[in-house]
Symmetry: C2
Subunit: 325 residues, 2 copies
């Protein structure tokens, strides 16, 4: 069997991460990157770029399209549209809207005879899998999800909207004290403030009132008011030198009991130097699964919950049983 033919839709951080992840998987081949920009501007990178409007010409050529757009406006339109033509994988992560997104994609994919894996990545994605696994095995227990340490794009944007702020970045930091309590067997009810801290690094405009900026940030409703927030003023040079990475990660922990109060703890954790590259690596593994499910004749929308891990690997069932079981 030949290599899996993959297309990437969108060439931001996630799309670039998918390109790099595909290079690590010899059973896959990147056919083209589809973009809303003028593809000529991007042509020098050794990858074939196409305008998104040309996607239809690749029907029958591309096995799976990896959709790397954003959840706010791109994916709600893109996934159903492209699922009518191709198998797809995406990282739609607006938790509250997943049910309606699933229905829309399911209908479109079935109409096109394709298979779409929605909402992969690590949360939703690997973290969701671990929440499900842990509560299925320990029905009597309490589950926790912690995020970080990592950059939150939404909170960084919120900082940058404060008057007098020139640039800034916000890190979500899980409370080590809370995690240690849970690891030691406690099942505390934790408030928002007890679970995560927010660390802000801010470049102020010249002459700006730093106290006023700090006050505006730490009291900002929804974003910071419910958290213990620190604001550190730094120079533009420091921001460039120390805060350009996109680290992230977190923990899914379930503390349960079996029998006569025997404590049992299941923990899954990620520590990522590049959030977009890791998310893209998950998308690529699920692209392999999408192609296989489609080849079996399956159609419609799937989530990570519906897909056996064997489908993520290029190895055969016999190899997996021999080497990894």
């Amino acid at each position: 069997m030949g290599k899996l033919k993959i297309g990437i839709v969108g060439y931001g951080n996630l799309g670039k991460g998918a390109e790099k992840a595909l290079a690590q998987n010899p059973d896959m081949e990147l056919v083209a990157v589809f973009t809303r920009r003028q593809p000529e501007q991007l042509a020098a990178r050794g990858v074939k770029f196409e305008h998104i409007s040309a996607a239809e010409q690749y029907r029958g050529i591309i096995d799976v399209m990896i959709l790397c757009g954003g959840s706010a406006t791109d994916l709600p339109e893109q996934t159903p549209a492209i699922a009518r033509m191709f198998n797809t994988v995406d990282s739609f992560d607006t938790h509250a809207k997943i049910p309606e997104f699933y229905d829309a994609v399911d209908a479109a994919a079935k109409q096109g005879g394709n298979l779409s894996v929605i909402s992969t990545g690590w949360d939703p994605g690997l973290f969701s899998l671990n929440r499900l696994l842990a509560e299925s095995i320990l029905p009597q227990g309490t589950g926790y999800t912690f995020w970080g340490k990592g950059v939150s794009q939404g909170h960084s944007d919120a900082i940058r909207r404060v008057p007098g702020v020139k640039a800034g970045v916000q890190y979500t930091v899980p409370s080590q004290a809370a995690i240690e309590r849970i690891r030691s067997g406690e099942t505390p009810d934790l408030t928002t403030r007890e679970k995560h801290l927010r660390d802000c690094f801010v470049v102020a405009e010249e002459g700006a009132d730093q106290d006023a900026i700090r006050e505006a940030i730490v009291t900002m409703p929804n974003y910071f008011a419910d958290y213990d927030t620190t604001v550190t003023f730094i120079t533009e040079e420091q921001l460039q030198a120390e805060h350009q990475g996109m680290p992230h990660g977190g923990f899914v922990i379930r503390s349960g009991v079996t029998g006569e109060d025997r404590k049992q703890l299941i923990e899954f954790g990620l520590k990522l130097e590049s959030n977009p590259e890791f998310t893209a690596s998950v998308l690529v593994a699920y692209a392999r699964a999408a192609a296989r499910l489609s080849r079996e004749g399956q159609t419609g929308a799937r989530t990570v919950f519906d897909i056996p891990y064997a489908y993520l690997s290029p190895k055969s069932g016999a190899e997996l049983r021999r080497d990894l079981l």
Copy 2:
């Protein structure tokens, strides 16, 4: 739909754990425990006991048999025999013999029109799943499995065979230093000695030569010679008071890179106060999956690699997407 009707075969620590786990899952019902002992001797416990030879009479009544025998001699015979009559779940854990065991159970289950999930539990089982997931997402990387801190039955038995030893227990202890090196992003080649320590607690017979016992243990080939082993002599009272639990656990860690050497770490860990109760809880969740797969008309052997997590949960797909994704 009525409750799932479950049978348990074998009533040692694992079988008793399965009984307790079933009590935590309201969609399941324990019909009977099958044993090679005289069932009358066990009848007082509020559970229906049957001799193993009566199992056949439960065809059409029991949906899934949870096989709680040992891997050395019980399961290689029991699983194929019972798979001809019932859907089964077992925890066969002799890694090297899994391929032939799979083939034997697959043939028997297909012959009987049943579905058998083999080699569940946590290793093989949940640890295997995490090894597969992590290498599928981070193909460029190194994977590690650490076990413990926990009681190793085989090593405890080995201690008790040393002349002059009255009783004893052995704990496998993962090297915290090795784990921290990996967590910090290193991918060391670790020797056996560098990965785990072995802590032995020994009750000596009166007048026995403790130095000779210690020497016999720490130099014992296969079991202790390749490890840093400590031997602590304790009283029979201390053994009773402090070493009757069956704790275990461990870690599966993969350290990989994406793109231009971005380090990415995936870690799964368990901390268990009761190894058999936890293993049994995994078996029970996979019993639910076995029943569902069988109801779909699937037959033959399956491993954890072949089963989507959604099948482990009593919740519907829509509930899972809404609550856990």
